[in-house]
Amino acid sequence: MNDSLILGIDLGTTNSLAAVMRPGGPEIVRDADGAALIPSVIAFGDRKVTVGAEARAHAVENPTATVYSVKRLMGKSIADLTSDMDVLPYDVVPGRHDTVCVKVNGREMTPQELSAIILRDIKARAETATGQEISRAVITVPAYFDDAQRQATRDAGRIAGLEVCRIVNEPTAAALAYGLDRSENACIAVYDLGGGTFDVSILRVSGGVFEVLSTQGDTRLGGDDLDRELINLLTGEIRDEFGQGLTFPPATRQALRIFAEATKVRLSTESDATVEVDLGGGRVFRRTITRDEFESLATGWIDHTIEHCDRALRDAGLGPGDVDQVVMVGGSTRVPLVRRKTEEFFGRELYTAVNPDEVVALGAAVQAGILSGIKRDILLLDVTPLSLGIETLGGAVGKLIMRNSTVPCQATETFSTYVDSQTSVDINVLQGERELAKDCRLLGKFQLDGIPPMPAGAPRVQVTFLLDANGILNVSARELRSGKTASVQITPAHGLTRDEVDSMVQDSYAHAVEDLNAHRLIDLRNEAERILGAIEKSLQVTGRVLGDPQRRALDAAAGDLRAKMGRDDCDAIYEAMSAANEAAMPLTEAQMDDVLSKTIKGRKMDDV
């Protein structure tokens, strides 16, 4: 086992992949067939949970139990997702602390747990490929992810049994991979259009120093949205042809989504693509979509990305002409219109020599190399994408940390009390650029406790807000007059509490790591427990009916079941359970006889 191996993971909306740092440079983790991309799709079958291409292949036949685009749900509330709800074939329900859960086969799972399933799969694949046990990882997130989304990602890693050494911004990771072997001073722009998110970051790169100057983005703008434009076009025309009242069952919705994605991909190289949808009952819808048509649907979205580029440059105090290189990242940058518009805006040829699907994972591996001490010559200075503030009287926001501040960074603020002997103060912490608290993202409520009782306004509680290198907030507080540390209770606005994550981590340990259908193991154990209890009870009541060999067989079967229960092998428990049931059959029969005779006796007595 190599202690220093840290896995670099690009946990994407559509695809995920991993890379490791080798002495010669970062290397993508591939399976035996050479494939690296793992579709971020989970299928819940009857007996098994699958991840990746296999899961995606079953999406149409098993639409409500196939979960994809989980990344869109991370750190979100149900209100944030209204526009996604109607296109997602699986069930999304409200969760605790204004979060969401996905409901599959009657079981609710948090986006963190779902992402953990994908991460666990990536981990297992990487362990197979490298022959090493992996317990630590660097995971990338969109640069524009807020605190809740970053925390959710880190929590997912923990639930998957990974120590998340660092959360790295995707465009920054791409820049690391791009600039690794370059020494010239350059200003680079990373344009990252993924499946679900868009980021643009402006960096200054010189002699191993990667300095992010500004970042802008939209965590709800990506290739998915281009697919949705096509889905809307198709469903609209299908209704025109077959009736407005037509509804689309989950299987059709999954199929439409897959057709739309395939059409988009095809239109990157072809001038038109034909879609054929079998609606059942002999109804077939056929439509040829031209690239021009697709581009007119996509143009609004792409214009948004260009506006973000403009803002990012202005935040960095630069103009398009100051950029020496534009690095294109993310599968959606294969769309010709994206390239055309970006090229036009920056006024220069784009850098497309990197594999847009792999460069982020490579960068994550570079960061992993820095953290594990393999690469000491690189200095990475990243920024926080959003301003951080606190709600002040009247619902305004007092900004403490401005966006694009280099992390780690901190700000302190002093609070006091409003009434005599008040011992706790509530603070609402927000992220965003708007002036009013209601327009910003509530990051959480922080309750300062343990303030010594004093007259109103006398305590001076100094609160330190520290954004760490992950862009995640840490809060500490001290009462200055007494010098006492005040405790800080955090209620996340869109996430899990530490206890909840801990219990999920515990759950995931209790679950079998190899068998992704961990829920089944728990159920089996409970069932086994119940059976053993029942045998115990029947032995007391009707144990006398058993002959010696039968008794020995039963004891052996029960002992075997107890032993198998302690292990993680579902099938073994299942077999031992069947065997114990079988061995207990004479007891069960005797008991039935007993019950039967009592009932008959009872009836006879009633009859009397």
Binding site: E307, R311, Q367, I370, L379, S405, T406, Q410, L466, A469
Partner: protein, 218 residues
């Protein structure tokens, strides 16, 4: 121009007891010190305490120190050491942010020189408010009518105003250094610096209104 480096006794490294040129990183054993979190930002970055500084020089010093302070290089250390580097790095980043921007560098220097804060003294240079009121009205009109060209013109005028104020601040700090022995002159200069800085904040606020208005359209 005279250098006004802090003339305090040289700091010694707690780890190896060698003298340190900055309070943050030992030149000899590269141990990062917690004392960094209490030093003033000029001392921290090993820069002379004056307004007229070369941006490249500030940047170079910042990067050199970051190579020791950044938490990335201490991921394998104990939680205490990691925490120390997190704090020191946060202070270092704040120091760089403060000193690299001329207006915030001036405000910080003014504070070190004992000038009044923006809460105590809200005055602005004579005639400044009148000009600003006019600009504000023009900007409001341009925003109402969504006149992009006019917004861009006002942005440019504000930027010119800003640059002029910064130049004036530079001159005032030079005069301050030259007349450091004469208290009456020094007090006058610090007072005027406060006014110029208040004016800068005002201009910056309008500038951000103009740019964020452009953004709001998107």
């Amino acid at each position: 121009m005279t250098e006004t480096h802090d003339q305090a006794a040289p700091v010694k490294c707690r780890h190896c007891d060698k003298p340190m040129s900055t309070p943050m990183v030992c030149d000899y054993c590269h141990t990062v010190s917690l004392d960094a979190t209490v030093a003033d930002y000029f001392t921290l970055l090993d820069l002379p305490r004056r307004f007229d500084l070369d941006g490249e020089e500030i940047h170079r010093k910042f990067l050199a120190l970051s190579r020791h302070a950044h938490p990335d290089f201490h991921a394998g250390d104990t939680p205490e050491v990691q925490q120390l580097h997190l704090r020191v790095s946060a202070v270092l980043n704040d120091a760089y942010r403060t000193l690299s921007d001329p207006a915030s560098r001036a405000a910080y220097l003014l504070m070190l020189f004992g000038g009044k804060g923006s809460v105590e003294d809200k005055s602005v240079p004579d005639g400044f408010l009148g000009t600003m009121m006019m600009m504000q009205e023009e900007l409001a009109d341009a925003l109402d009518t969504d006149d992009r060209a006019e917004i861009a013109r006002i942005t440019e005028v504000l930027q010119t105003q800003h640059d002029g104020l910064i130049r004036r601040i530079g001159t005032l700090f030079e005069q301050y250094q030259e007349s450091i022995s004469c208290k009456a002159v020094v007090d006058d200069l610090l007072g005027e610096l406060r006014q110029q800085l208040n004016a800068v904040s005002y201009v910056k606020k309008l500038l951000s209104q103009a740019t964020s208005a452009e953004h709001a359209h998107e």
